[in-house]
Symmetry: C2
Subunit: 492 residues, 2 copies
Amino acid sequence: MADHITNRAENYSQWYNDLVLKADLAEQSPVRGCMVIKPYGYAIWEKMQRILDDKFKATGVQNAYFPIFIPKSFFSKEAEHIAGFAKECAVVTHHRLMNDPEGKGVVVDPSAKLEEELVVRPTSETIIWSTYKNWITSWRDLPILCNQWANVVRWEMRTRLFLRTAEFLWQEGHTAHATRQEAEKETMQMVNVYADFARKYMAMPVIVGHKSPNERFAGALDTLTIEAMMQDGKALQAGTSHFLGQNFAKSFDVQYTDKEGKQQYVWATSWGVSTRLMGALIMAHGDDNGLVLPPALAPIHLVMVPIYKKDEEREAILAKMEEIKSQMQAKGYSVKIDDRDTLRPGYKFAEWELKGVPVRLAMGPRDLQNNTVELHRRDNLEKFTVGIDGIADKIVSLLDEIQDAIYNKALKFRDSRLEKCDNWEDFKEKIKQGKFLLCHWDGTEETEQKIKDETKATIRCIPVDTCVCEEEGTDIFSGKPSKARVVYAISY
Amino acid sequence: MADHITNRAENYSQWYNDLVLKADLAEQSPVRGCMVIKPYGYAIWEKMQRILDDKFKATGVQNAYFPIFIPKSFFSKEAEHIAGFAKECAVVTHHRLMNDPEGKGVVVDPSAKLEEELVVRPTSETIIWSTYKNWITSWRDLPILCNQWANVVRWEMRTRLFLRTAEFLWQEGHTAHATRQEAEKETMQMVNVYADFARKYMAMPVIVGHKSPNERFAGALDTLTIEAMMQDGKALQAGTSHFLGQNFAKSFDVQYTDKEGKQQYVWATSWGVSTRLMGALIMAHGDDNGLVLPPALAPIHLVMVPIYKKDEEREAILAKMEEIKSQMQAKGYSVKIDDRDTLRPGYKFAEWELKGVPVRLAMGPRDLQNNTVELHRRDNLEKFTVGIDGIADKIVSLLDEIQDAIYNKALKFRDSRLEKCDNWEDFKEKIKQGKFLLCHWDGTEETEQKIKDETKATIRCIPVDTCVCEEEGTDIFSGKPSKARVVYAISY
């Protein structure tokens, strides 16, 4: 057996940590709260990047790169933004180390103090809008649709691999528009790109909706989110798209001359997903044997394990496997033949299950004789024997089937725990059981806060898809009138 | 006319700065020494990344990600390394800002001082080898072949866009091997990957060679380099591959159990190229009209400019252009139709020349009648009229021709300025003219330093390809015996 991981039922949180470490996805680094993303984990992230990048570019977005450092004074320019971000961040104050004159190793050179401290970007609105000021003069310069793939740092106190780390990788799109309408359309377009990616590639059902004002991005007029349900029933915010109004344009004085020759402030959006998606992927589909990867994001689609006693069996089986490998690769799939000689097949099976490879193919002497192979599906752990003729086509359609099955399983799970709730006592009970509750809300921050204080549940979003929520009713907590239901859940 | 740029002959350095800015490649940011890479510049970098990444992976390398911060103490572990890197770097000392109690805006919170300062990585050997320690136990764990695409910071005092910036983007490969021989082979393999990339894709002839001990990477036993000649005759180090021996393994105590059960220190390499390649590309091929891009790295291969007076001409021409665009795109090429209505063709021509698009196609009413188009080559500025039948094939072979022509032009230029020199007075004269001089060297740092002090020339490398340099002789400066010629030049 490969390394043991804790059962989900026993301790879901420990299961997650075990899985991340033992499937070689990531680990803690010697630097507080910063992670090392290991090659297998990074390969999954690269697949996500490539797909998202293509989707962004298909909407006209171009990539660019802005500095990692932000002058401290920039944070004073947008009042809400600083309140939201400047508090916990890495601050660069000096630009030189030196040998300690007293021989105590290396110390900071006090003479190399910066005139103005630099903050390692927690997000890049400020540095980007200070740059856009020089790029924008006339309506002809708009829209600007830029994205960057970058690292950012937020000095989180409690960190968890992928879910919440001091440094993480992400993309941040920053767009500039002539009109409010166009910026709002962009905000919606990008959250839908995320939703489409989550559903089709991550096989993860998500609810698209608006954040309540309280949960908005610091400096935004509206935040759209995709919210996914993890297997413990908690919600995970997997991507957000912000309508920033003219806040940053005003803070950095970014105006354009419109077609009538009038000066106008520019309208802004920003939107991002991060390596947090890795955490979502793991928790949405993983089981007690380890990671379950949707084929669309699997670095290895098919692993083949030969079963043999004699050398000539080994050779004959490996020869067959090489044939299958070539056929699969020609169709664009990634294949691994696990021909390690020192390990038993059972050990290998467990290891590749831990790593979530969607299909396993085993072949022994009897298969060789019968012209068959044994296929194993990672998602439902089913095994079956099939004829070797047309095997590549069979595996390809199995992969498609698995992609759908993983999504449908997650959808069924989510739907079984998504329900309307109109009774406060029920609410308290059901929220503890890990449910998404569709409840009436009076629209006040006060009610939202009280519910959070009492139950830890927050408004995940005011849905714009998945459920029809606009209906008259009364707030589940305050009893005041409400015009729509919102999704409450306990979240990561 | 599009924006004017300074002629190379007038002021080469100003020409470079003008080109970078006016071709929309990059610009200075509000943060000292940090650049903004604009979408068009970034698109070229992305092409470089994609090609290099595929080449790395073809040798078995996998990508991973390590923290941006390095604990200060790590720099004390490898003595030479700290001398080389820790001096000028960004040091994080605090993790919080706060509102000034005296109302003077935002200040660093003195209570949020870190116990140990963190350095923003100038390179990642230390953090990576501290991680490899946990990954390596037995010979079965080796080799480890990791690469990361990342940003790094070196607090340079004099910065120039792409060539030398405080923050830059790069890739850094870090490999771990069981034997010296294997690590040395890897070092050579990766410098050859760089050389192949420079020649085939960047169309840039490079000399591969060893650095003299004095110019080695801090902590390396051997540094291999690719050295390119810019159009002012100066050398630009475009990529390096280091054999690190067991230095980092010893500093971080990374040992493995060999097949005989004996503990052995691990052997290391590291290798990298950066956004400096953008500077090399610009300076190797650009002319007084702007950027000249080799087709293999051009974000846009073909730009089409319609020439018309009447609306129906415009429509008919654009319809033809759309056809050509589809044909080119089907072959995998990127095409832009410049149908902007408010600009004259001459202005557009100049703009796309500035941006280095390899082929321009113009079509006017007479072309429409004659079933012809006018093609313009960016590399040699030649124009000619061709029939429209099979136009996509014609353009594709033109692009291939251009790729070769750019390389051959650069090679001819380099070879015309690469010569043996055995006389010190000649040396001083010729080095000023911007030549690569193949000279005998006695192997001492002393001689190297004296030549540098007197002429600014440095040993760029001890070539392993391009020239046969092993021959007996006497040092050009000291007159002492020498066993091989080295390349001297003034460098960026």
